[in-house]
Amino acid sequence: MIYQVTHRTTFAYTQPVAISHHVLRLTPRSHPRQHCLRSNVMFDPTPSVRTEGEDYFGNPITHLTIQTPHPELIVEAKTLVDVMKPDPMYVDQSPPWDQVVQQLQRPLDSPNLEAQQFMYDSPYITIDDATYEFVRECFPPGRPLLAGAMDLTRRIYQEFTYEGGVTDVSTPVKDVLASRKGVCQDFAHLEIAALRSLGLPARYISGYLLTHPPEGQEKLVGADASHAWLSTWCPDLGWVDFDPTNNLIPGDEHITLAWGRDYGDVSPINGFMVGGGHHTLDVSVDVSPAPHPSLV
């Protein structure tokens, strides 16, 4: 499936900003099921310094500095990306989770080593005993890893209420666990913490989701938004995604932007400005199916 994604962010300042620095992760990374066909990030005003690169986790990253006074900043990322459906997943046929934990302790091959990056506490995800107690019932000894992960995904979907505005990025996982409320980022953090507490690797994925308007209504442009889910690692199968907000294994309607240990590693836009008074942030995202560029 090919999508055209438009992600527009507007910073409006009450006073002009003298200088600002930004770090952006707005170009979808490519991976075995996803190809970024075209990506174009535009800025107004034009930055004095712009550097494209890759971060430690292999995500495309843009650094920019704007050195002229500016009352607002517009960042618009337009991308064309091709996402393929995963092969059908038979979660019951995956290896027992406790065997995977053991395997991770032993000498390493390279995918195994890569998975080790995502097994421990990270700045926004602290593992504690409560999380471990929560996850234990999904993972009795010998249960296939992916079956356990699917069950955990379902439990978060069923036992937690999706509610915006009650959490923010600094809300610890244990608070989300206690209040049973949050948004997609919180649910992804929680499931990651739960898997890591068992000694399993889990990584955070930021991206977009194709949304479907209610029956009979036209889809509104810009009404889509960023989404977050996670991925866990299974020997032989590699990384398998789970979306606890929607209780599913993502298919070709989830577009991956970047992955990392937690939200802090993949935040789409970090900024620093001197001056500027207060600022307001306006974000609009539009995801729509597109014809293949060779057909246009």
């Binding site: 938004a225 977050a228 620093f272 001197v274 600022h279």
Partner: protein, 864 residues
């Protein structure tokens, strides 16, 4: 102590016996001074003989000298107690630790090997990660370590040197061999204290120092700086000391190093990144920074890419480093290697890199991330120190990080066993060390064996690592010495390496840079320092105004001029105290009603109570605080005057009475200090930007104070008959000028002319404004604008207002209620000018104070 070497036979009444008779080390520990057969170790004999040869008076003098130096140098570290931070004096035991040259060379070789090893490990882990790929190191050691900073991976490091300046904590085992307890690679503290200890001890015990032939420390710092500066490609590089700021526990040391090395001390907000280059904000614009000696944790150095919440870093710094324009000492992320989880892997790693084992072992440590080691720790918990070591640095106290095995109760042991079972990779078990003992010079003038560790410093040079010949020894005089550094009962010591060959005595104390460039005027004045100097000027002047005012009031309360209980006079005096914000209007009213006695009581509180928030102590505290921030810009004499001035009330409270007479003497003494300070500033400071900011602060404050006084004493009523005008002249320090000029009773118009418009009177308002104008003209400005800048516009307006004013008219014209409205208006305008000028100066020159904000990761509403 049966066998006493012949050379130590008592020669003076102050004999060896007196001090060492009771010196009895524990049998199962190693003692630095005394061998197991009770004899004094050979390399100590000369020193001990010298020490014994000191008379009681000399020993007493040594302590006095040291105490005075500690006080004069303001040597402190910040300590938290009951949630409050306060300065604690540095605890120094004058009796040095002595190490022989042979032993030192052994230590040196081992520590150099270790420094090279750590540098190799860092360059692998932040580079190809071969050690992980080939299984030499378990990945948890790196990926589970919060000090592994992913964004720093792959950043090229000049010369492959990650560690420019590092330290090791070493101790000696009971068998006499040395161990390394901890590696300090992030931003090791204490080298400045070690140097200061050396200066104090060598001056307090000069003969002892001379006869012991001690290797010198200062060339180490010179070597560090020379090597560090060579990491820059530029001809005349700018190096800075990056500090988290005065709230940091070791700020004293940051400032000390800054002064000693000649690098400006800066905070994150003093710098900015443009065009992928790091710049220092100075009053003269942006200056490129090439080298940063970092005293800030790595993860706090760039809020854009590392810890977002950090307020101590420089956004964009990582990009500037990636672009190759900045060298950090140490490289960002170097803290990774400090972790105790690595200790047990170092022997293997040493074989891997060098094909040889460690020359000096680490203290025995078991990492619970491995099954066998974990089992060992769980089985032997009651004889180990258990430490949680892979955990974010902040927010956890030592108590939660360390458990002393023998002290654990059943419940704690159970909890710890479970935690290690689940998250073993975060824990290590460490052998409980009983370090060697060394003599501590007790207040009772005895020597007593106490346990010690030593922190030893190394620096990278182009020929490899060099060790500081000495170090910061620390001893614990508590009965239970397993606590941490910086606790009451801990003392530091100077470490003397007894040298046989020639000493490294530096030829010159100044640091040679690449090439000497003649310079005039400190052009690299960081804007924050300018800001602090400006405020030091303001606070010093504010203190002077307050002190002069108080002295006049106090003298009117006493002696022949005593004013008695006349309510009108009392009211006028007290209202001045209200004007100066020493008293609230309510308390003032109550005092007047209570008569002279009540007013005197209030005055006494203002003068002598060190805790009164409105009193003199608070004003002086402001002077002291700002002075401390710019100490590196002040001469030692200026600094000493400031310290004496600000400690007068405190010293007074301890020693002297609080009568009116005492008060007058106290205030007069402070005025003398202020006069000395003014003299220093005028005669001894170079006319640099630093001096101009200090001066501008003083002048502006003087305008403010004087216009307030005139308004208060002369803008209404009949000041000529009430004595208010004489008081005004006195407070403006113009009585004598007036008398010699007019030889008559004070007349308002003439007084106003003298205090407002006479540009030959150095205390007149116009004189201050003209001086400020001259400073502004001399400061750097944007070349492009030819017209007056905003600051010049304000001073010009102020001077013109005064020159155009008709003094007769100002004095005579009153409203029906007796208010001199024109005078009031003029004074009000002047007051506004001061405010505006202060703002304009801040805006133009203090760019570090601009509001900055970070927009870090935030929840953008997701798709349900």
């Amino acid at each position: 102590m049966d066998s006493m070497p012949a050379s130590l036979s008592p020669e003076s009444p102050d004999s060896l016996l007196q001090h060492t008779k009771i010196y009895s080390p524990q049998p199962d520990t190693f003692d630095e001074l005394v061998a197991s057969d009770g004899s004094v170790r050979p390399h100590w004999q000369e020193l001990l003989k010298g020490f014994e040869g000191l008379g009681v008076t000399q020993r007493h003098q040594a302590h006095e000298t040291a105490a005075r130096m500690l006080k004069d140098d303001g040597m402190t570290y910040l300590a938290s107690q009951n949630g409050q931070q306060s300065d604690r004096p540095w605890q120094l035991d004058l009796f040095p630790l002595l190490i022989s040259q042979e032993e030192w060379q052994h230590l040196e070789a081992g520590l150099i090997q270790r420094a090279r090893l750590l540098n190799h490990i860092l360059s692998d882990l932040y580079g190809p990660q071969q050690l992980l790929k080939n299984g030499t190191l378990p990945p948890a050691v790196v990926f589970g370590n919060p000090q592994f900073l992913q964004p720093c991976h792959g950043i090229p490091v000049a010369g492959g040197t990650y560690l420019h300046f590092l330290a090791f904590d070493v101790a000696r085992a009971p068998d006499g061999n040395w161990w390394v307890l901890r590696d300090r690679t992030e931003a090791p503290t204490g080298a400045g204290f070690a140097l200061e200890n050396r200066i104090i001890v060598s001056r307090s015990l000069p003969d002892l120092f001379a006869r012991t032939h001690v290797q010198r420390l200062s060339s180490f710092f010179q070597t560090f700086s020379e090597s560090f500066l060579q990491f820059s490609q530029r001809e005349d590089p700018l190096a800075v000391v990056l500090s988290p700021g005065p709230q940091n526990v070791t700020y004293f040391e940051h400032a000390y190093l800054s002064r000693y090395l000649g690098y400006p001390i800066v905070e994150g907000s003093d710098m900015t990144v443009r065009d992928n280059r790091l710049f220092l904000k100075t009053v003269d614009g942006l200056k490129p920074v090439d080298l940063v000696l970092r005293r800030v944790y790595s993860d706090l150095c760039d809020p854009l890419e590392l810890t977002t919440e950090s307020t101590t870093g420089v956004p964009g710094l990582l990009q500037a480093i990636r672009a190759g324009h900045v060298t950090m000492a140490n490289a960002l992320g170097s803290g990774l290697i400090e972790s105790e989880v690595l200790l047990s892997f170092l022997p293997t790693l040493s074989k891997f890199f060098f094909g040889e084992g460690l020359k000096i072992p680490s203290v025995a440590t078991w990492w619970c991330g491995q099954a066998n080691e974990r089992a060992y720790v769980l089985d032997n918990m009651d004889r180990l120190l258990i430490r949680r070591v892979l955990t974010p640095k902040r927010g956890l106290t030592h108590d939660r990080l360390s458990s002393f095995g023998p002290d654990l109760n059943e419940q704690d042991r159970g909890a710890l066993t479970q935690a290690i079972g689940r998250r073993g990779h975060e824990y290590v078990g460490r052998e409980i060390v009983s370090p060697s003992t060394t003599p501590f010079w007790t207040p009772d003038d005895e020597l007593k064996p106490v346990p010690m560790t030593v922190r030893i410093y190394l620096t990278a040079t182009k020929d490899g690592y060099t060790v500081m010949p000495g170090g910061l020894a620390r001893v614990s005089v508590r009965s239970d010495p397993r606590g941490h550094w910086h606790e009451p009962g801990d003392f530091s010591k100077d470490t003397w390496v007894k040298w046989n060959g020639p000493l490294d005595i530096p030829a010159a104390v100044t640091l040679p840079h690449h090439t000497l460039q003649l310079r005039r005027g400190g052009r690299d004045l960081p804007s924050r320092t300018a800001d602090n100097l400006f405020w030091l000027g303001r606070y010093a002047e504010r203190a002077e105004g307050a002190i002069r005012l108080l002295r006049s009031l106090v003298s009117r309360m006493s002696g022949e001029a005593g004013i008695g209980d006349d309510p009108a006079t009392l009211h006028r005096l007290v209202s001045l105290l209200v004007m100066q914000k020493h008293l609230s209007p309510r308390r003032a009213k109550r005092a007047v009603e209570g008569g002279a006695g009540a007013v005197e009581a209030e005055l006494r509180t203002i003068l002598f109570d060190p805790d009164s928030p409105d009193g003199l102590a608070t004003i002086l505290q402001n002077v002291r605080r700002t002075a401390e921030l710019v100490r590196h810009r002040l001469s030692l004499d200026t600094w000493n005057i400031l310290m004496e001035l600000t400690s007068v009330p405190k010293d007074w409270a301890q020693t002297k009475g609080q009568s009116i007479d005492d008060a007058i003497r106290l205030l007069s003494r402070m005025i003398q200090h202020l006069a000395a300070l003014n003299g220093m500033v005028m005669e001894n400071m170079t006319r640099s930007y630093a001096w101009r900011f200090l001066e501008m602060g003083r002048r502006l404050e003087r305008v403010r104070h004087l216009s307030k006084l005139i308004r208060h004493l002369a803008s209404r009523g009949t000041p000529e008959t009430t004595g208010a005008l004489n008081l005004l002249l006195e407070l403006a320090d113009a009585s004598i000028t007036y008398r010699t000029r007019y030889k008559a009773e004070a007349k308002l118009a003439a007084v106003l002319d003298l205090l407002l418009a006479d540009d030959t009177n150095p205390r007149s308002i116009i004189f201050q404004l003209l001086t400020v104008e001259a400073h502004i003209n001399a400061l750097p400005r944007e070349e492009t604008s030819a017209a007056l800048n905003p600051a010049q516009r304000i001073t010009t307006r102020g001077c013109t207002d005064i020159r155009l004013a008709d003094m007769m008219q100002l004095a005579q014209f009153t409203t029906k209620t007796g208010v001199r409205v024109n005078l009031e208006r003029l004074l009000k305008q002047l007051d506004q000018h001061v405010h505006q000028l202060s703002d304009v100066v801040a805006h133009t020159f203090f760019s570090h104070s601009l509001a900055q904000r970070i927009s870090g990761p935030q929840w953008l509403e997701g798709v349900p």
